[in-house]
Amino acid sequence: MGKKTVIHDVHVEQGARMVDFGGWDMPVHYGSQIEEHHAVRTDAGMFDVSHMTVVDVEGPAAASYLQHLLANDVGKLTSPGKALYGCMLNEDGGVIDDLITYFLSDQRYRMVVNAATRDKDLAWLEARATAFDVEITERSDLSMIAVQGPNAREKAATCLPEDQREAALSLSPFFAAQLEDLFVARTGYTGEDGWEIIVPSDRAGELWLCLAAAGIRPCGLGARDTLRLEAGMNLYGSDMDETTTPLESGLGWTVAWDPRDRQFIGRDALEAQRREGVPRKLVGLLLEDRGVLRAHQTVYADGEGEVTSGTFSPTLSRSIGLARVPVGAGDTVEVDIRGKRLTARVVRPPFVRHGKARV
């Protein structure tokens, strides 16, 4: 038996099919993954993402610690509540994890890291923290619900304290605020507008039921995966890991090279790779033939590459994927699907954004 979120029993009552996900017993769908996907693209859906790990970083050296730890630069964060996406690298420039950091105040940041990488992340964070005056606190007392879709914020606002609704609805994209006991962030992993709400665990079940009553459809992690892939967002462990750098993973934009004297972990390795030439790149694939792209299929393109994530896109009604290919790959490639070489077009993600096809 895996670990359970506090909303677990409600999921089962709501008809969820539960599967193991990184050691957690999580809903994969509540009947139809495709309908859940469309609900998020056209209306509002919600995900229990309480398996993710919330970590608070506090202390006089919080900023300088994170500037050393992360390839993106929290020095860019000057407005309270602003969020920053980026990678935590090892000395070789390999990705230990990707994460979101929220700037709360000069001495206080909140990070949300992946569930499957929790143990190694916390060990890494603690080990790097010894040289800094900071305190690292895992917030296992908190749960997290993502509400996503064009109507998600409006519907979810009815579950917030009345005097906090306006503040929540006026949050700009990629900003968060602590509103009484709820931490509301206008972020997500679907390519749609919405919030990620961090809630004290003893109130999470009640919030979930309120959101459901407000017309937000419960969605499983199956739909979360097709939504993030359509949105061109990487999944840790599939699209990048410790053997790949951000530059080979479509994440060069999350590496802050300036200021040049900021010595973040992995910087030397990334600079060396950039000097010598990045050998591989992560691209989007749109399958021209019938079939479904899946992780680990071989890609033929100026040498060999590999599909890192693949699925059927419910919005585009065809198969899409991400693949790591030699840097010289052209506009079309061939993918080996069960012994047949099928044609795929190389595209720049996202495939879908705010409900609309982009390829």
Binding site: R290, F312, R338
Partner: protein, 128 residues
């Protein structure tokens, strides 16, 4: 509870077989199988004229999440594949024992059917 029609034969790997009057059989996947797979988005049926042996992986059904093999329950020649599934794989979800059939096979040995599970035996495998 999934639907297990009494007039069909079954395999442990969740295929069903319907005997036709001309000595051929229609093959599909069971209601239990389609439900476990979830929304199907792609079906690769075998080519007409191909020879299959009992237990061969001869077709592929893909849901959003994953690809699964369909095993031929019998030995013989594929004489027809359900072309409608190319454009409408969801027929397997909607009508697994009807419009969602996958292929029609001319049996090499009609006695092969005798060893297959009947509805009751198949239902018992689902309870394990």
């Amino acid at each position: 509870m999934s639907d297990v029609p009494g007039d069909l034969k079954y395999t442990k790997s969740h295929e069903w077989v319907r005997e036709e009057d001309d000595g051929s059989v229609i093959v599909g996947i069971t209601d239990h199988a389609q439900s476990a797979l979830g929304d199907l988005v792609f079906v690769e049926a075998p080519e007409t004229g191909s020879e299959v042996s009992a237990g061969d992986a001869c077709a592929v059904v893909e849901s959003v999440k994953a690809a699964s093999d369909v095993y031929s329950p019998v030995t013989g020649e594929v004489i027809e594949a359900n072309d409608a599934l190319a454009d409408s794989p969801e027929l397997v979800n909607q009508d697994p024992y009807g419009d969602g059939w996958i292929m029609r096979i001319q049996l090499a040995d009609p006695t092969e059917l005798e060893d297959m599970l009947d509805a009751k035996a198949y239902e018992a495998t689902l309870e394990d």
